[in-house]
């Protein structure tokens, strides 16, 4: 025996080409699909990340804010590099680098030392602390730790240090976004409510949205309306900052005084209901003015609803410019509808995106044939079903909750569609199914500048439609017989 554990020594066996062929065909079959869908424990290619990633995104949305990971250092590197790859922008965040001894003694010493160093080196205005697995498993008491840090002078007395418990073994990145955001708003607005004061502003929360173009689009729409506004957790400048020869560690974010004063707003609207339940509940209970939680405005109908709601909240007419914008978008859609009508799609992603894709496809006359969420809920399923039931194009479309992209592959191979809407991770399934993948979700690691093109609002609908229709036309041009290759399409 030449191995340590006394394991049997075997000759290397090459798999025969016949066997490879057999399995390659087998994984595309109905039989395999059934086996695949019978999985109880193994998750393969999930379309969701863990809570702290969303928490970091929310933290980047505030002025001068340093995201701070309480936990192992590798976690911070993973979140940072994911955001770097998607936005192709810096994503500064620190960690307090807990190691084995943290498991024994708890992470307070690391947290304190980390806060002191982070303040000295990176001079933040606010530090947003969130947790990865280790402190969650050993049960670190963040409330006490941070209170002690302030008492011992590791953070300046007046520096806000909101913190959130964001265990990775619960929920997904959208839940971490919610927990961090609500904590930041609680911290910022504490004691800031002034009886009788109204900022006259609309507070807008985009939800766990990784598209900087969307944030700019919201602001543009509200500017068209002439409505003063505060976008909370505004990542647009944080993750789309100028290249001008200087690096600014805190390139953007909601001004802290605006965040504090948001509690005195005229109205607050969240457009990511699935990514902001806790935040919205806090706002409803504490913020002045009106409170609205409504779906991400993807497609014409959902954008109409958003625009009308804003008009209603502020007692304003929809401005002519937005009416025209809607008209131009509809014009673009009617011009292009024939290239998408009747096409079958598989869609997957975070709940708020997913509702948007489905709604958009149905109104274009396309079928969201396979709808898949790798971490969904009964509520989401019901809401998606209601969308399908409301359209003749929803007939025969099916919803798959808590399924992953390996399930999706089985669906694509046994019940084919024309295209997928999702994120970069869908490219393997798309390649096997020989269909295009439209990367409207998160993350996009393999195309440039996608996050700069909004997918919300009328402009977003035009952007999505243009990309989809032109791709179908490209495919026709690239694959048709010579005699069918023509100038006009």
């Amino acid at each position: 025996m030449s191995n340590l554990l006394g394991l049997e020594v075997k000759k290397i066996v090459e798999t025969t080409p016949e066997e490879v062929d057999r399995v390659q065909n087998w994984i595309n079959t109905e039989e395999y699909k059934e086996k695949n869908f019978a999985r109880q424990a193994l998750v393969i290619n999930p379309a969701h990340a863990c809570q702290p990633l969303g928490a970091q995104l929310a933290a980047h949305g505030f002025e001068g804010t340093l995201p701070f990971v309480h936990g192992s250092q590798g976690c911070a590197s993973y979140y940072r590099s994911t955001l770097n790859r998607h936005f192709r922008e810096p994503a500064p965040a620190v960690s307090d680098a807990m190691t084995e001894d943290g498991a024994v003694f708890g992470g307070q010493n690391n947290l304190h030392e980390g806060l002191e160093n982070a303040v000295a080196l990176y001079k933040p205005k606010m530090i947003a602390v969130f947790t990865s697995c280790m402190p969650e498993v050993i049960g670190d008491d963040l409330t006490a730790f941070i209170k002690n840090a302030r008492q011992k002078g590791f953070v300046p007395k007046d520096m806000p240090v909101p913190y959130a418990n964001t265990p990775s073994f619960n929920g997904t990145h959208i839940h971490g976004y919610d927990s961090m955001l609500v904590s930041i708003l609680q911290t910022m607005t504490e004691g800031k409510q002034i009886e009788g004061r109204c900022t006259g502003k609309l507070n807008l929360i985009a939800g766990c949205d990784f598209n900087t173009g969307d944030y700019r689009e919201y602001k543009r729409i509200l500017t068209e309306f002439g409505i003063p506004h505060t976008v909370l957790a505004d990542i647009s400048d944080s993750f789309d900052s100028p290249c001008d020869g200087h690096y600014h560690i805190y390139a953007g974010g909601t001004k802290l005084e605006d965040a504090a004063d948001s509690i005195n707003g005229k109205a607050t609207i969240t457009l990511g209901p699935y990514a902001t339940p806790k935040t919205f509940s806090f706002i409803k209970d504490n913020y002045s003015g009106k409170h609205v939680s409504m779906p991400m405005p993807m497609g014409i109908e959902k954008t109409d609803a958003f625009i009308m709601k804003v008009a209603e909240l502020f007692g304003k007419e929809v401005p002519a410019s937005l009416k025209n914008e809607r008209g131009r978008a509809v014009d673009a859609i009617t011009d292009a509808h024939q290239y998408i009508h009747g096409k079958k799609f598989a869609v997957y992603g975070d709940p708020d995106y997913l509702l948007g894709y489905v709604s958009f496809l149905l109104e274009m006359g396309a079928h969201p044939h396979h709808i898949l969420c790798s971490r969904g809920s009964k509520k989401l399923e019901k809401e998606l079903q209601a969308l399908l039931d409301g359209s003749e194009f929803g007939k025969g479309c099916k919803i798959y909750m808590n399924k992953d992209l390996w399930h999706l592959r089985s669906l694509l191979m046994t019940d084919p569609v024309d295209a997928i809407i999702g994120d970069s991770h869908g490219k393997f399934a798309a390649r096997d199914a020989k269909i295009p993948l439209f990367r409207f979700g998160f993350p996009v690691f393999d195309r440039v500048n996608k996050h700069r093109y909004p997918i919300i609002g009328y402009q977003g609908a035009v952007n999505m439609l243009t990309e989809i229709c032109n791709k179908f036309i490209d495919i026709k041009d690239e694959t048709c017989e010579d005699r069918d290759f023509e100038l006009m399409r």
């Binding site: 290397i12 290619n45 590197s77």
Partner: protein, 481 residues
């Protein structure tokens, strides 16, 4: 190794030490004390490390380091193409490390190769009740759905070790039941100080569970070698393996780039181990040397000078057949390399580069830059040890700054003061420096390019370095108004 002491104009021991002192002055006392031994001015003549290394990261400073799990999953195990690698624990770790290292694989995805994300996706109840049962079911499911997978690795994430699960016992039982190698790897991210311990733990599990469990079907030959520490980033192994074959060797296994489990398992019968990434795999070379008497040699496949040196060093251990073939290979590629140098050197001569990468490239790539006329004016590692810094000293020009696990603050300060024409580091650093208008190449992933290894790689490397430094886009950074 260069014999002469190289100086860079404007850089002296004093100037470097002043820069270090100024940079450290921003730290609180305790952190300053911790960081100070990790930054130094190179003493080229000494041939030994000028910094301390492999120590805990200082909390809160913004380190580039990853964790033991990253070293295990991303570096050692992930590249083995015909195994299912299970990220055991919550969903995140596996998701973040899914397809992000660029260790290319051949084969048919989901049939004969598995560059996918397999996870037990721990939920609260798994933390409370333990995940061993789930793991057992999951292993059966994986074997069922991927019958051609040659084995399964179980890579522990933080919670697994904290809640006291026994993956080793589950793996043992399941391996027997499924008649399949199932390798438990206790590489929780909180272990050790960096990716490095993950490499070591993984090497140890290969030693315990894999090596010596297979035999090559074909008879042995005196030219059987294994290529160790070659991860096929951007197709590197598809450059180096054919090169070694051209030199007359039978490359029996690659560890672990585009790797095959059974070939790795039979490596104990080769005549020589050729190691590229010393940091992540020296452990196994030493084990095979002690246990099976297999000698090993460190090579450098970056840039024609180092490649030539390496091939001759390798040939010297073999007979005339190999020596002749190696000389023929060198003679074949020399003029091609000369042509590349003539094309790019005039555009790059005298340009300065700063590096911060993992555990090998901050020293191994210096020669390739020098082939192009460039100077390395600062270098450092995320997770190197003293033996790496010893090997770095002679490669770096004298008195240049060496940094171990630098914070982003330090790296920025050094770049600001030294004004390099190019920085080679990772994705987290890339956009920071590009905002500053400094050309940058990701040197972990070859910035979505590659290969950079071997003769084939040098042409790509030279083209990319030129593209980064001489792109007209940098001229647009300064606005005219």
């Amino acid at each position: 190794m260069s014999d002469k002491i190289r100086k860079i104009e404007g850089i002296t021991k004093e100037s470097t030490e002043a820069l270090i002192a100024e940079t450290l002055s921003a730290y609180p006392e305790k952190a300053k004390k911790k960081r100070a031994p990790h930054i130094g001015a190179n003493d080229q003549g000494s041939g030994s490390a000028c910094v301390k290394s492999n120590k805990k990261t200082v909390p809160g400073v913004m380190s580039a380091r990853g964790c033991a799990y990253a070293g295990a999953k991303g570096v050692v195990w992930g590249p083995i193409r015909d195994m299912v690698h299970v990220s055991h624990g919550p969903v995140g770790c596996g998701w973040y490390s899914w397809g992000t290292r660029r260790n290319m694989v051949s084969g048919i995805v989901g049939v004969t190769s598995f560059p996918m994300q397999f996870t037990s996706d721990f939920q609260e109840k798994d933390i409370v009740y333990g995940g061993d049962k789930k793991l057992k079911t999951l292993l059966e499911e994986a074997h069922d759905l991927f019958p051609l997978a040659k084995g399964i690795s179980v890579l522990s994430e933080c919670p697994v070790g904290l809640i006291g699960d026994d993956i080793n016992s589950v793996a043992k039982t399941s391996a027997k039941e499924l008649d399949l190698p199932i390798i438990p790897c206790n590489c929780e991210g909180f272990r050790g100080v960096s990716q490095s311990l993950g490499h070591h733990i993984s090497n140890d599990t290969i030693r315990d569970y894999i090596i010596g469990t297979r035999e090559y079907a074909e008879p042995e030959s005196p030219y059987d070698i294994a290529l160790i520490g070659e991860y096929n980033i951007g197709g590197d192994a598809w450059s180096t393996k054919p090169l070694l074959e051209e030199c007359g060797f039978n490359v029996k296994a690659v560890w672990t780039g585009d790797g095959e489990l059974e070939k790795i398992a039979a490596t104990h019968t080769v005549k020589l181990n050729v190691i590229h990434c010393y940091r992540s795999m020296n452990y196994m070379c030493k084990v095979m040397e002690e246990k099976f008497g297999i000698p090993w040699i460190e090579l450098n496949f970056f840039g024609p000078t180092k490649i030539k040196e390496s091939l001759r060093k390798l040939a010297a251990l073999f007979d005339d057949t190999i020596k002749e073939k190696v000389e023929a290979v060198i003679a074949k590629y020399d003029p091609i390399m000369q042509e590349i140098i003539e094309r790019y050197k005039p555009r790059l001569d005298g340009k300065k580069v700063m590096l911060l990468v993992g555990g090998l490239r901050p020293r191994h790539t210096i020669g390739a830059y020098e082939d192009l006329g460039m100077d390395c004016i600062g270098s450092g590692y995320e997770f190197a040890h003293t033996d790496d810094y010893d090997r770095t000293a002679p490669e770096m020009p004298d008195a240049t700054v060496v940094y171990d696990d630098p914070s982003e603050y330090e790296f920025e300060k050094f770049a600001d003061a030294l004004k390099p024409d190019l920085i080679g580091s990772g994705i987290k650093e890339k956009y920071v420096f590009q905002k500053m208008g400094i050309p940058f190449r990701q040197m972990h992933s070859w910035d979505y390019s590659g290969p950079y290894h071997g003769y084939k790689g040098f042409e790509v490397f030279a083209r990319d370095v030129d593209m980064a430094i001489n792109s007209p886009t940098w001229k647009l950074v300064q606005s005219p108004f």
